[in-house]
C-alpha cells in the first residue's frame, strides 16, 4: 500500500511557472508530457473570494476554459495518485461535471459568483496506461475555468464507505508509519498545548494518546477516519481558516500534512495505550467530599474560648481569641487608647465624621464604666451611621449612577437603591432580610404598599449590573448576567463564581454547570433597560403603585406616551409646513411652531404621576439555559437545571418551574447549612472596624484568598452574628466594646519586630481616612456640610438624552452634601475619588487601597476646594476668638479632637508671625494679613498626617 503521498507535479494551466506552498509549479504551456485543451483566459482584476496569497491569486485568475476542457499528463509511472484541481469563476455561476480518468468525481459542481474559487480534491486515481486525465464537462453553453492541477503520488485509496471506524488494532506497517511520521510531529508540534503535560490544555483536545484523538476537543472530533477533507486536524494543519490554524505560528511542511492525510485515510492507526483523557479527567474531577472540607465551607460551630494566662485582661470573648494568639507569640498588648483618640476613632468609624469638641469633652467628663457604650449608642442612632456603613456596602456592590455602556447612560432612579441601603443600615435591617430583599424583594410582597415598594427598590442591586457596548443586535446581555453572578458570588458568598463561566473554576469547586444553573435564574429575570446609543429610552422599569393600581399606572404611561407622540408629531408637521410655506406666511407659522415645540418639550419634562423603580421583575420566559461553551453564547452545550452550587448540596428548582428562582436562590444562600454568608459578612464588619479583615481577602474565601489570621475568632463572630438575629449594630457593639478595639496604636518594640504588619493586633492599627471622610471633614470644618439626605441627581431630563459613544454622558455635579451622595459614573471616574482611592464603580471593591501619591499632595496644596474650605475654617476660627492661642487651641480640638500642646502653640504662633512678616513685605494691609496668615495656617494643618490618620 502506497501510504506516503508525495508531491508529484503541479501545473499552472495558463500562466508562468511559480512557487505555491513551497512547491514548484510548472507552466502547462511548456511542460513535458502535458496536453491541455481549452481556450486561455486571464483577468487579474477580479477580486478573489476568499482572498489568498499573491502567487496563488495570480495562478487562479489565469485559466483555461470551455464547455469541455481536458488536461492530460503522460509518462506517469504506475501507482496511486491524488489529484487536486483549482477552479474559479470570473463572472456568472457555471455548472459542470469533473472527471478523472473519465470517471465522474464531482457532478453538477457550481462555480458560484465572480471571484469565487476552490481547490477541489483530493481525488484518488491510478495512472492508466501511463496517463492521468482530468476533464470538465459543462452544458453546451457553459464554461468551466480550470486554473491549476496539483498531483501527489501515493496515498491510501479513499475508502468507498463514507464511514470508517478508527483502526482498532494497527498492523505492523501502520505502527511503523505512525512511529516514523506521526508521533514525532505530535510530540514536537502539538504536545505543548495538547497533552496531559501541557501547562494548559488548549481547546480541550489531547493528542498525546489514542483516547484523546478519538475523543476530540471542544470544537468537535479530531478527525473523520478515512476522510481527510472532513477532518478538523487536517483543516487545522492546512490553515484553512484563521480560527483553525495549527500550529498557529507556521504551517508544517506539505509533506508532513500529506502524511497526516494518509494517516487519516488509513483510519488513524495509533498504537498508544496510555489513556491520558482518563488521567486528566481524574485530575480535574472534583472530589466533592474533599471539596466540602475546605475551611470556609465547613459547618459553623461555636469555637471553644481559648484559655489565656492573663485572665484579667479580656473584657469580652473577642479578647480571649486575640490575647491567646499574642501570648502564644509572646507579645504584649499595647496600652489602651486615650479617650480623645478613642472617641475620634469611634466617631469616624461609625459616622465618617470628626467628633465635635463638645462630644469629646462630654466623653472625657463621663467617668462611668458605660461612657464608651453610650458614645457607641449615640453614634449608632445617628443617621450619619447609615451614610458611612451604607457606603461600605455600596463599594462591595460596585454602585454607580450610570449604566456603564459605551455612552454611560444615566440612571436617574438609581439613587433610590442607594438610599434604601443607607436606610437599611440605619434601621438595622437584619442581614438575612437585607440579602433576601436585594435578590428577590420584588417577589416577597409586603405588609403594606410601602414595604412592597422598599423591597422592590432593593432589587436595584441586580438592576445595577453593568451594561456593555453600543450594539442593539447581538446585545451582550450575557456579560451583564456575568456581572450579576460575579458580584453575587463575591458579595454574599465570598466566592469568585464567575471564574466558572468559560471553564470549571480552576481552584474552587465550582463547575461550569453551576455557573449556568445560576445564569438561568438571571436569564429568567427582567432587567430594566437603561437606554443605549441606538435605543435611548428607558423601559421595563417597575411602577411603584398599589397592586390594584398597576394596570391603571401602565395605562397612564401608555396614554402619556401617546400624547407625547401626538405633540411631537404636531411640531414636526408644522416644521415641514414651514419649509414649504410662502414667505409672507412664515412669520405666523414661526410662532405656532415655537408654541408647539414648547408644548412638546414641556410635556416631556412633566414628571410622571407615580414613581418608577430601576428594579428587576420576573422575565416573560422563565427557563433553564444551556451551558455556553467557552463562555460564548453562540456555542450552546447541554441545558442545565437551575440549581445552587453543587458544593452546598446543589438544591434545584423543580422541572418547568414557573418562577425565575430568585426567591429560592436567596433561600439557598441563607440556608442554615451554608456557613458563608455569616462568615463573609462578619468578616466585613470586622474589616471596617480594624482596616483589615480577619480574612484579608473579604471577597474571596476560596483557595485563592488569603487564610484567616484568627479563624476561631471569625467563627465566633459568625455564630454570634446569626445568634443575634443577623443584627449588624449588635456586632458593632460586640466588637467595639472589646478591649482589643480600644487599644492604643503604640505597640512595643517586640511586637513591631515580630509582627511588623500587626496581624496579631497587639495594638490598634493606625487607619487613614478614606476619600469620603476627608472631603466630609473639610466640609464639616468649613461649616458648610449640607446634612440633608440627598435625593435625585440633577441629570438632564430623559426627553433630552442624546448620548452616544462619541458624546458619552459626562458630568460632575458639585454639592456640599456628604460624599456618599456624589454622583458616581461607571466610565468616567470622579476626579476627586480617583485621586484618593475611591471605590471602583465598575467592579466590586472589597477593601479600599490606601495609596500615597504626589497627586494627593498636589490636591491638598492647590485645589480650589481645599483653599475655599481653609478660608471658611479660618474664618470660623477668627470669629471664635481674636486671640491666636485660643484660635490654635480651637483648631486642634476641631481637627484632632485634642488639646494643642505648648510647643505646637508656639510653632503656630511663630508661623503666624512669619507669615505676617512675609505678607507685610508683600505690601498687604493689616486686616488682610490677619485673614491671610490664618488661612495659611489652616492650609498647613490640613496637610498634616495627624489630620488623615486615626490613632
Amino acid at each position: 500500500m502506497g501510504a506516503e503521498a508525495v508531491f508529484y507535479r503541479a501545473l499552472n494551466l495558463n500562466g508562468s511557472a511559480l512557487t505555491i506552498g513551497g512547491h514548484a509549479w510548472e507552466s502547462a504551456a511548456g511542460a513535458k508530457d502535458v496536453k491541455v485543451s481549452g481556450k486561455t483566459f486571464e483577468n487579474q482584476k477580479v477580486l478573489l473570494k476568499p482572498p489568498t496569497d499573491t502567487a496563488r491569486t495570480q495562478m487562479i485568475r489565469s485559466s483555461v476554459w470551455g464547455s469541455k476542457v481536458d488536461v492530460e499528463l503522460g509518462n506517469v509511472p504506475s501507482g496511486e495518485f491524488q489529484v487536486f484541481l483549482y477552479v474559479w469563476e470570473d463572472n456568472n455561476n457555471e455548472r459542470f461535471d469533473l472527471l478523472v480518468n473519465e470517471r465522474v468525481v464531482m457532478a453538477g459542481f457550481e462555480s458560484g459568483t465572480a471571484g469565487m474559487w476552490k481547490k477541489l480534491g483530493p481525488w484518488p486515481c491510478e495512472s492508466v496506461g501511463g496517463k492521468i486525465k482530468v476533464s470538465a464537462h459543462a452544458a453546451s453553453h457553459g464554461a468551466a475555468n480550470l486554473s491549476g492541477l496539483e498531483i501527489w503520488s501515493g496515498g491510501a485509496a479513499v475508502p468507498k464507505l463514507a464511514k470508517m471506524p478508527f483502526v482498532e488494532t494497527p498492523t505492523a506497517d501502520q505502527i511503523a508509519f505512525f512511529e516514523a511520521k506521526i508521533r514525532p510531529v505530535l510530540v514536537e508540534h502539538c504536545d505543548k498545548c495538547h497533552s496531559a503535560k501541557s501547562e494548559k490544555i488548549k481547546g480541550g483536545l489531547l493528542l498525546d494518546s489514542r483516547a484523546g484523538v478519538v475523543k476530540g476537543g471542544d470544537t468537535g472530533p479530531t478527525l473523520t477516519p478515512g476522510d481527510p477533507a472532513a477532518s478538523l486536524i487536517i483543516q487545522a494543519l492546512r490553515h484553512t481558516s484563521e480560527d483553525l490554524a495549527m500550529p498557529p505560528k507556521k504551517m508544517l511542511p506539505a509533506q508532513v500534512i500529506a502524511d497526516f492525510e494518509a494517516w487519516v485515510r488509513m483510519g488513524a492507526p495509533d498504537p498508544r495505550t496510555e489513556n491520558t483523557v482518563a488521567a486528566v479527567q481524574a485530575k480535574s474531577t472534583i472530589d466533592w467530599s474533599k471539596a466540602r472540607d475546605w475551611w470556609s465551607f465547613r459547618p459553623l460551630a461555636a469555637p471553644h474560648l481559648p484559655a489565656v494566662q492573663n485572665a484579667q485582661w479580656p473584657v469580652n470573648d473577642i479578647d480571649h481569641f486575640v490575647l491567646a494568639k499574642l501570648e502564644a507569640a509572646k507579645l504584649k498588648p499595647a496600652a489602651a487608647a486615650d479617650k480623645p483618640a478613642l472617641i475620634r476613632r469611634a466617631t469616624y468609624d461609625l459616622t465618617g465624621l470628626p467628633p465635635t469638641p463638645e462630644e469629646v469633652a462630654a466623653f472625657i467628663a463621663d467617668s462611668s464604666p458605660q461612657a464608651f457604650a453610650h458614645v457607641i449608642d449615640r453614634l449608632l442612632d445617628s443617621p450619619r451611621y447609615g451614610e458611612r456603613w451604607g457606603r461600605h456596602w455600596l463599594d462591595v456592590v460596585r454602585y454607580a449612577d450610570t449604566a456603564g455602556d459605551n455612552s454611560d447612560y444615566p440612571i436617574p432612579q438609581m439613587h433610590r437603591y442607594r438610599d434604601w441601603v443607607i436606610a437599611a443600615f440605619n434601621r438595622d435591617l437584619p442581614y438575612d432580610e437585607f440579602v433576601r430583599d436585594q435578590i428577590a424583594g420584588d417577589l416577597r410582597g409586603g405588609a403594606n404598599d410601602e414595604e412592597r415598594y422598599q423591597r422592590t427598590l432593593a432589587t436595584g442591586y441586580i438592576a445595577n449590573s453593568r451594561r456593555f457596548g453600543s450594539r442593539v443586535e447581538d446585545y451582550p446581555q450575557h456579560l451583564t448576567i456575568e456581572d450579576t453572578i460575579d458580584n453575587l458570588g463575591r458579595s454574599f458568598l465570598g466566592l469568585t463564581v464567575n471564574c466558572a463561566r468559560c471553564h470549571d473554576h480552576k481552584f474552587d469547586p465550582i463547575t461550569t454547570q453551576d455557573y449556568y444553573a445560576l445564569y438561568g435564574i438571571f436569564h429568567s429575570t427582567r432587567y430594566p433597560w437603561p437606554g443605549i446609543e441606538l435605543d435611548k429610552k428607558q423601559r421595563d422599569l417597575v411602577p411603584l403603585v398599589p397592586v390594584d393600581k398597576i394596570a391603571e399606572a401602565e395605562a397612564a404611561r401608555a396614554a402619556r406616551e401617546k400624547e407625547q407622540a401626538r405633540l411631537d408629531k404636531a411640531a414636526k408637521s408644522l416644521k415641514e409646513e414651514m419649509k414649504q410655506a410662502a414667505p409672507d406666511k412664515k412669520k405666523a407659522l414661526e410662532a405656532s411652531l415655537a408654541a408647539a415645540e414648547k408644548a412638546a418639550k414641556d410635556f416631556a419634562r412633566r414628571p410622571l404621576p407615580f414613581e418608577y423603580a430601576y428594579a428587576v421583575a420576573e422575565a416573560k420566559k422563565r427557563e433553564d439555559v444551556a451551558v455556553q461553551q467557552k463562555g460564548d453564547p453562540a456555542k450552546p452545550g447541554d441545558t442545565v437545571r437551575r440549581h445552587f452550587l453543587t458544593v452546598f448540596g446543589g438544591a434545584e428548582l423543580p422541572a418547568n418551574s414557573q418562577t425565575s428562582g430568585r426567591e429560592q436562590l436567596a433561600g439557598w444562600i441563607l440556608a442554615k447549612e451554608n456557613p458563608l454568608p455569616a462568615r463573609v459578612m462578619a468578616n466585613r464588619i470586622w474589616q471596617h472596624h480594624f482596616g483589615r479583615g480577619i480574612v484579608p481577602t473579604p471577597n474571596d474565601f476560596g483557595k485563592q484568598g488569603k487564610p484567616a489570621t484568627h479563624p476561631e475568632l471569625l467563627d465566633y463572630l459568625a455564630v454570634q452574628f446569626r445568634a443575634r438575629g443577623w443584627s449588624v449594630k449588635a456586632m458593632h457593639r460586640l466588637i467595639m466594646l472589646s478591649r482589643t478595639y480600644q487599644l492604643g496604636t503604640a505597640r512595643d518594640e517586640d511586637a513591631v519586630a515580630h509582627d511588623p504588619t500587626n496581624e496579631l493586633l497587639a495594638g490598634f492599627p493606625r487607619l487613614r481616612l478614606d476619600a469620603e471622610s476627608i472631603r466630609d471633614t473639610l466640609l464639616t470644618l468649613g461649616g458648610n456640610l449640607d446634612l440633608t439626605p440627598a435625593g435625585a441627581h440633577p441629570f438632564p431630563p430623559q426627553s433630552e438624552w442624546n448620548f452616544t459613544q462619541h458624546n458619552a454622558f459626562k458630568a460632575v455635579y458639585e454639592t456640599n452634601r456628604r460624599s456618599v451622595y456624589l454622583m458616581t459614573q461607571r466610565i468616567q471616574r470622579h476626579p476627586y475619588l480617583a485621586i484618593f482611592d475611591g471605590a471602583d464603580p465598575s467592579a466590586s471593591t472589597p477593601a479600599r487601597p490606601t495609596s500615597t501619591t504626589p497627586l494627593q499632595a498636589l490636591y491638598l496644596l492647590n485645589d480650589p476646594f481645599v483653599h475655599e474650605q481653609s478660608r471658611r475654617f479660618a474664618e470660623r476660627l477668627r470669629s471664635f476668638s481674636s486671640d491666636d492661642t485660643a484660635r490654635i487651641q480651637r483648631a486642634y480640638e476641631l481637627l484632632f479632637a485634642r488639646a494643642a500642646q505648648a510647643d505646637e502653640i508656639a510653632a503656630g504662633k511663630a508661623f503666624l508671625a512669619n507669615a505676617a512678616r512675609q505678607l507685610r513685605e508683600d505690601g498687604m494691609s493689616a486686616a488682610q494679613i490677619d485673614t491671610e496668615s490664618q488661612h495659611a495656617y489652616v492650609r498647613a494643618l490640613f496637610r498634616l498626617n495627624e489630620f488623615v490618620y486615626l490613632d
Binding site: P50, G469, Q805, R829, A843, L861, D922, L941, R943
Partner: protein, 459 residues
C-alpha cells in the same frame, strides 16, 4: 522646636547633579534609597533596549488602505460590489477606491500614501504592521481593547502595566502621563490603573495654562507655600517621632516634597519656550503654542528626557477624529495635523540619540472598510488595519504582514492586539505571560490568556 527644612535634602542632592537632564535616574535612585517607593526603578525580566514608550493613539479609526496599506486592485475595483464591506454593518458594499497615491519611502521603499509624506521619509526607522486585527467594531470597545487588552471590561491600561513593571526614573513626575487635551473614547478608562495600585494611574495632561489639575500654585505670595510646608514638616515630624517606624507616615511626608517640586519641574517640562526655533519647526509648531498636536509631541519628547516611563499622546477626541463615515477626504486634514509632528518627533529623538532606547508606537482602534459608507466615506473595520513601531529594539524598514487585495482581511502574519501588546512588553524586557498582578483571586495580565511575541519585528 526649630525649623529643620527637610526640603533641603532634595535641594542638596539636586545641586549635586546640577539639574542635568541625563541624571534624573541617578537622582531618583538616590532619593528613593532606603525607602519602599512603589515607583522605584525596577529591572524587567530580561535586558532590553527600550526604556520608555511614547504611545501615539489616533481616535476614530484611521483608514489603512488610504495610508499605509497600498491596494492597487482596490483602485481598479472602484464601484464594484465585492465581498463583505466589513465593519459596522457586515453588508456587501460598493468598493471605494483609496483617495491618495502611494509612493515608496526611504531606502526600504515601503509604500506609503501621500497623506503621510513626512512619515514616508522616515520608513527606514519604522516597522510597519499591515496585518493588525482587533475584536470589536465599536469605537469605545476597540479603544478599550487597544489600551487594556480587554474589549469590554475595565482593566489596567498598558501604561499602568509598564509603570507597574518598570517603576519610574524621576519621582518628581508621574510615571505614566497621558497627553490628552480632549477625552478619548471610553473616557478615563483608557489611562486608568484599574486594580493596579494608584501610583500607576495615568496622569492626564490637558495642555493650556494649567496642564495638570492642581499643578498651579494657588498661593500667589512669594515664599508662602514654603512657609506652610515648613510648618507642616515640623508638625509632621513631631507626630512621626512618637510613631517611629511607621513608613506610611514618612512616605506621605515625602509626597509633599515631590508635589512641591512637581509644581516647578512639571511646569518646566510642559513649557516649550526654551526650545529653539529649529526644533519647534521640526514639529510644525509656532512659538507660544501650548495645546496643538505638535505641542503634545514635543512635550512627549521632553517628558521622555525627564525619565517618564510611559507617555501617551492622544490625537483627537471621541467626537472630533478620524471617523470619516461621510467623507474620506477629511482624512487629509487629520493627516496634516499629525504627519509633521510625528515625523519631527522621530527625527528629534534620533538626533538626541534617544530613539534607540525609546519605543514609539503609532496606532488607532481599527481600520476602515474597503466598501463605501454613504457616498464618500468608510465604515469601521477591525478585521484588519495598520499600526507601526519605531525605535528601541524594533527592526526599522520592515513592512510586516499583509491583507488581501482589497484590504478586507489579513492573509499573512496576523498581529492581533494581544500580539501587539505582547511584542511591546517584550521590547521593554518583559515576558508578557509573567508580568502579572494578583487581583480578585487570579493573576491578571495585559494580554489576558493570549498573545504571541512577533519575533520578526525585533531588531
Amino acid at each position: 522646636m526649630n525649623s529643620p527644612h527637610s526640603f533641603r535634602r532634595r535641594e542638596v542632592l539636586r545641586s549635586m547633579v546640577g539639574g542635568s537632564l541625563l541624571m534624573p535616574g541617578v537622582l531618583s535612585e538616590l532619593l528613593a534609597a532606603g525607602s519602599a517607593d512603589p515607583l522605584a526603578p525596577k529591572r524587567p525580566h530580561f535586558p532590553a533596549k527600550a526604556k520608555r514608550v511614547i504611545f501615539i493613539f489616533c481616535n476614530g479609526g484611521v483608514s489603512h488602505m488610504d495610508t499605509f496599506d497600498p491596494k492597487p486592485a482596490l483602485f481598479a475595483a472602484d464601484g464594484k460590489t465585492m465581498g463583505l464591506g466589513g465593519g459596522l454593518s457586515n453588508q456587501q458594499r460598493v468598493l471605494l477606491k483609496p483617495g491618495w497615491k502611494f509612493r515608496p519611502g526611504g531606502q526600504c521603499g515601503t509604500m506609503v500614501s501621500d497623506l503621510f509624506p513626512k512619515l514616508r521619509d522616515m520608513m527606514d526607522d519604522i516597522c510597519l504592521i499591515r496585518s493588525m486585527k482587533g475584536d470589536d467594531n465599536e469605537h469605545a470597545n476597540a479603544t478599550l481593547g487597544m489600551h487594556t487588552g480587554s474589549f469590554f471590561f475595565s482593566r489596567p491600561s498598558i501604561g499602568s502595566w509598564v509603570s507597574y513593571g518598570l517603576g519610574t526614573m524621576n519621582s518628581n513626575l508621574p510615571s505614566f502621563v497621558a497627553l490628552a487635551p480632549q477625552m478619548p473614547y471610553a473616557g478615563t478608562q483608557i489611562f486608568n490603573n484599574d486594580f493596579l495600585p494608584a501610583y500607576h494611574q495615568g496622569v492626564r495632561v490637558v495642555g493650556g495654562k494649567e496642564p495638570i489639575a492642581d499643578l498651579d500654585r494657588r498661593t500667589r505670595q512669594k515664599g508662602q507655600q514654603e512657609l506652610e510646608l515648613g510648618l507642616a514638616d515640623v508638625l509632621n515630624n513631631k507626630h512621626l517621632s512618637t510613631r517611629a517606624g511607621d513608613s506610611d507616615l514618612s512616605a506621605r511626608i515625602r509626597t509633599f516634597e515631590t508635589a512641591f517640586h512637581m509644581q516647578t519641574e512639571a511646569q518646566e517640562a510642559f513649557d516649550v519656550n526654551k526650545e529653539s526655533d529649529a526644533t519647534l519647526s521640526m514639529y510644525g509648531m509656532k512659538r507660544g503654542d501650548n495645546e496643538s498636536f505638535g505641542w503634545q509631541c514635543i512635550v512627549a519628547r521632553r517628558l521622555a528626557e525627564r525619565g517618564v516611563r510611559f507617555i501617551e499622546v492622544v490625537d483627537g477626541s471621541s467626537s472630533k477624529n478620524w471617523d470619516d463615515h461621510a467623507d474620506m477626504a477629511k482624512h487629509a486634514d487629520h493627516a496634516k495635523r499629525i504627519d509633521q509632528p510625528i515625523a519631527g518627533l522621530l527625527r528629534d529623538l534620533k538626533e538626541r540619540s534617544m530613539l534607540n532606547d525609546t519605543l514609539v508606537v503609532w496606532t488607532t482602534e481599527f481600520g476602515r472598510t474597503p466598501g463605501v459608507d454613504g457616498t464618500k466615506g468608510r465604515g469601521h473595520h477591525s478585521a484588519c488595519f495598520s499600526s507601526w513601531l519605531a525605535g528601541g529594539g524594533v527592526k526599522g524598514g520592515l513592512a510586516y504582514g499583509a491583507t488581501d487585495e482589497i484590504a478586507s482581511t489579513v492573509v499573512e502574519n496576523k498581529v492581533h492586539v494581544h500580539d501587539f501588546h505582547a511584542t511591546i512588553l517584550h521590547l521593554l524586557g518583559f515576558d508578557h505571560t509573567k508580568l502579572t498582578y494578583r487581583h480578585g483571586g487570579r493573576d491578571y495580565r495585559l494580554t489576558d490568556v493570549f498573545g504571541n511575541v512577533i519575533s520578526e519585528m525585533l531588531a
